[in-house]
Subunit: 383 residues, 4 copies
Amino acid sequence: MSDRPPTFAVGLLGSSFMGRAHSRALYMLRTLEDDPVALPDLHTICGRDQARLQAMQRRYGWRHRSTDWHALVEDPSIQLFVNAATNALHAEPSIAAAKQGKHVICEKPLARNAVEAQAMLDAAAQAGVVHMCAFNYRFFPAIRLARQLIEEGEIGEIRHFRSRFLLASAADPHTPETAWRLREETAGSGVVGDLLAHHIDLARYLVGEPVAVDAYARTWAPERHGVQVDVEDAVVCTVEFQGGAIGTMEATRVTPGHVLDSVIEVDGSLASLSFDVQHVNELKLSTAAKASTINVTDPRHPFVDLWWPRCHGIGWGDSFAHELRHFLGAVAGRWRVAPHGATFEDGCRCAQICDAVLAAAASGARQRIPVGASAGEREVDVS
Amino acid sequence: MSDRPPTFAVGLLGSSFMGRAHSRALYMLRTLEDDPVALPDLHTICGRDQARLQAMQRRYGWRHRSTDWHALVEDPSIQLFVNAATNALHAEPSIAAAKQGKHVICEKPLARNAVEAQAMLDAAAQAGVVHMCAFNYRFFPAIRLARQLIEEGEIGEIRHFRSRFLLASAADPHTPETAWRLREETAGSGVVGDLLAHHIDLARYLVGEPVAVDAYARTWAPERHGVQVDVEDAVVCTVEFQGGAIGTMEATRVTPGHVLDSVIEVDGSLASLSFDVQHVNELKLSTAAKASTINVTDPRHPFVDLWWPRCHGIGWGDSFAHELRHFLGAVAGRWRVAPHGATFEDGCRCAQICDAVLAAAASGARQRIPVGASAGEREVDVS
Amino acid sequence: MSDRPPTFAVGLLGSSFMGRAHSRALYMLRTLEDDPVALPDLHTICGRDQARLQAMQRRYGWRHRSTDWHALVEDPSIQLFVNAATNALHAEPSIAAAKQGKHVICEKPLARNAVEAQAMLDAAAQAGVVHMCAFNYRFFPAIRLARQLIEEGEIGEIRHFRSRFLLASAADPHTPETAWRLREETAGSGVVGDLLAHHIDLARYLVGEPVAVDAYARTWAPERHGVQVDVEDAVVCTVEFQGGAIGTMEATRVTPGHVLDSVIEVDGSLASLSFDVQHVNELKLSTAAKASTINVTDPRHPFVDLWWPRCHGIGWGDSFAHELRHFLGAVAGRWRVAPHGATFEDGCRCAQICDAVLAAAASGARQRIPVGASAGEREVDVS
Amino acid sequence: MSDRPPTFAVGLLGSSFMGRAHSRALYMLRTLEDDPVALPDLHTICGRDQARLQAMQRRYGWRHRSTDWHALVEDPSIQLFVNAATNALHAEPSIAAAKQGKHVICEKPLARNAVEAQAMLDAAAQAGVVHMCAFNYRFFPAIRLARQLIEEGEIGEIRHFRSRFLLASAADPHTPETAWRLREETAGSGVVGDLLAHHIDLARYLVGEPVAVDAYARTWAPERHGVQVDVEDAVVCTVEFQGGAIGTMEATRVTPGHVLDSVIEVDGSLASLSFDVQHVNELKLSTAAKASTINVTDPRHPFVDLWWPRCHGIGWGDSFAHELRHFLGAVAGRWRVAPHGATFEDGCRCAQICDAVLAAAASGARQRIPVGASAGEREVDVS
């Protein structure tokens, strides 16, 4: 038997969908390996509703609960801060936690806008803490394989990027929807921050930096159960990348014909790649000779040895376990968050692009996105 | 037995890919029905190469051949002019034929640019001849079903349009390619007129009028076997429609991973449609409940009774037979070209949008496309 | 320009579905190549209904019509006999034609049973005429590619064969169905001869000789519009091949959920193949690394240069043109019918296997199928 | 907050693939619901290898470990026995545990053969304990939906069943494989018990009782890393059901082209169903009108409310959590194991059918399978 793994006390803010996703992932981490890189101590869960918090304790074993995030981020016994709150509570608690020297992972979008995101990056960089933005798509084996194939030159020079993130969630105005998602004040944006941000991050991870965008946005359901919606529920974009590639991106939550259709595609001078989140265990690779589906449940693919012998697919939520393992490993000094995990710098850059998309849609004019000016301090090396 | 169908003497200009596609379709028309709406007399084939023309005569039974299109369009025995020539020979011969009172069907794109297209429309309208632009996609049973479902309200209010036309044809700069396709002077444009035009026409047929576009274009293979390419081989667009729908469109011939990936999708407030030219016998219809594939080889679908009892799919080229049957039926007064066939007005409108896409790509600025100003005289009624 | 191709006078028996399929193919042959291997003279169409025959003449250009097949097969001006009649009219007219020295191609199943089929083979062999059984599936490019990959060793040692031919055609007892298909006297069998025979022939073409079968059969719709059905409308089989491979086969016409689902699959020690007649332009090839779809519309695949430049798929009916071109080429001495075309020997062998399947279903006991005893004289070489 | 759920002390035998699958599921149960039906106390893990057992304790929190299964099943503090051992250790420990009054869930196949399985059923029935055979496929939402659609009459009269379970696991004789799987003495059978049993159980769950089978079996890799393989690695069957439906079934582990291709299909007089374990979140439903894919990640489907808000798919291993929750709920008296869970009676019946398949393959003669004679005592009602 090996030495005991390092263990870090975690405070989690958020008890809804994302709070559950992160709690479950943290709870599962010990099951993934005989010798884990690091393990979490599920110290405190923080939210607004006592009954909900008690239920989270029963489900995932959180030792303490709190309804005061200020107390949480100031608690000296907590080492890691997982921010799974609503968008309006991303910046202030994350900044406070970083200032307290806590390592921080924050849900995407990193903030409601680029100004907030920059402040978060600055705070984390200044504090010298490990920081990560929870773009969980990077932690599907198929996305890692896509990146590997691109780095190995299998795809050739990248020419096209194409993504669509189509949801039915707001198609029916009578379907309940969390109210905060409908207002700019609380959400920052609609589908741009909620959906498009995932694909912008993947575009950056796989293709490179977007340098200009055009966009149209719509709000098809302007009122939902009494709330005046002031964020977009549909957006389409064209995008230009630093290396010359061009692309289209699209996000919507008003298409009942697509319950969850999240696909990204990369076309190069040698081959094309396609990933569909409905089939997370597959990557499509097509060449002039044939269009292929690669099943990524073979243990030679990353993360797969954390699961089953072979051929048995994982689920969407399991990507969060990979992600939090990555975060803990970075905190433990086993590796750095970048390039495979997204840092606050990535989250900040994504926020700038989201803002550019919204500005393009609002103005009808192409928005150039400056690249290269350092968004702030680089990632800390804790090892 | 019924009366003998009306028969029209046809002159065809073009002996390459499209010349063959139209010849074969004309040759097959008599086989489609016991009582055809009208039949062609394959009178004269016109092109530059005598040996090629002789081969066309042997293959399809053209009675005469000519290397002089001026003679062809002036031949009083010819009633219908089928223009399957290269883009640079669309306007002048079609206008000349119309002035001679011949009914004209011309391959897409109708012309190299909107100015030429407008002149063609004006000439045809003034001459009072039947005119048609050969957008063959409108003649797949699945596209007709898509239109029908939209008209019946099955899709609801249309919110998104999405298309991609991805080819490998120019991915390898050493692959032979017809030289005229590589120069603006001869082709007008690259993938915009060649590929995107198909989807622009379908967007108009299914969704409505585009009113604004943004675009990026690229020429990834700037030289091909000694020719300096001055047209785009890749383009991406965002588009806004008159009814408020928004969309993305894309065309390229430099993606080896896609030998021919031509897909259009329409998302409405009730359901979504998708058509893929690799599977012409299918239409996808998805709702919140399920994603379905409708096999359109049942005789209740249009055109299917022209073929097999049921369940046996047609090929890509068979759409040309439907198209030319439609043209002959319009000439015979059985129906009008519009709304299911594209007229020169449709071809002209498509050319305006193509020009707007190219201007948007060149300028980086959103291009508004005026709608409503009549593009010219309306379709003649020959009945 | 080349010499004129040899031309052969054709007499066709049959004016229904298959009569049309063969007529259309014959009519199209001249369009396929600049220098055809041989061409048909559509001399006489023979059937029962004068009006129908007249329509066939108008559609396909048959020069003469006849309602007397005896006269047809005795007409000295006719050189080739195409038998597209109902099953009960396969043996006698084909034998008579062969005795008159006419080369014969006969629709599948070759006969109502193996006894009839043997007599046909004997007659053709004795007469020394070219004989062919019209298993059109062999003439899809994808099936040829499958055979080629197997011969090249890409699949390895073959271990499994799997086929299903699922139709909805008899699912609704009120759907009109040709009455002769419902009676053993006229059809020989139900789905065994009509559907399973296709896959048995492909199994022999791709895998090898079946040596034993087990089967269950059913007649789910025992009466259809007044006809007492005495043939099976559903059958399932297990099959053992000479080389050791084992397989399942299935045919039915009572599954409304499958309008036409005809799929064959071959699994070897290195890779697997799958062909689906709904997507005739594709072959699936899967290995341990990936599952691929090969688009066979590239001109390097057989038959494709008879059609479009590339990427544009053919339809189901076009396989008949390949098939009749093959037959005419064999008659002209350009190649032999075997191995790529099915001879009467293949048709006879298939009939023996069909009989074994029916016997297995009737008896509940495994049927061994003798192999190796020559079924008769070998194919004539006319060159 | 509700009352605390009943908690049961669990002893688990097995620390390999299935031991991990059950451990993980038990560990996760508390995370599924705010108010669980019952919860496990992970009391003792039992296996042969101390280091392995220690790792299992660290991963899943097993409180004790043991290398002596006799001690485990006699430990009075243990209430539930989960048998995830190799096939040779299914019968004896399960019987011993039942005799000690422990409720038992045993991995599939229930035993090496029907004799052993009957003894297990007899013992469990006599002891009056809750018994369950771990056919986890029954616990995919899509399979439950399939059953529901059948019960509601959506599929009509069932006519065909079709299944294939194709693996690559033994295709390469050099791939390591657990030695016990290669010998009849330890495994009972090869792919019949390991793979086909899953589909036999689903056939019984969805269609009804098989009453006769024919089969061929093969051992393509007769020696693997020094072990003489005496079980089949490939089998094909035809099957007849009590209600008249007929079907094909197939299982193999020697097809490298299929890493894990496990599909079942049911065709009825109204519609057809298909389930593919590579896409566990989907059920295909096809009718004469269209072929549809139903995404079962909507909370109206069973189990889905245990996971995410909607649209986010679960993984293969998550079915074990549903299964063990079902077992614990039965022990707690909330519901009975049948009909949705498989009891030892189901496991015993499946073993009888497996034996019949093997006998059919060995003898070449159709095997009839008696139905209706009670296999033993019925399921206990603990409530």
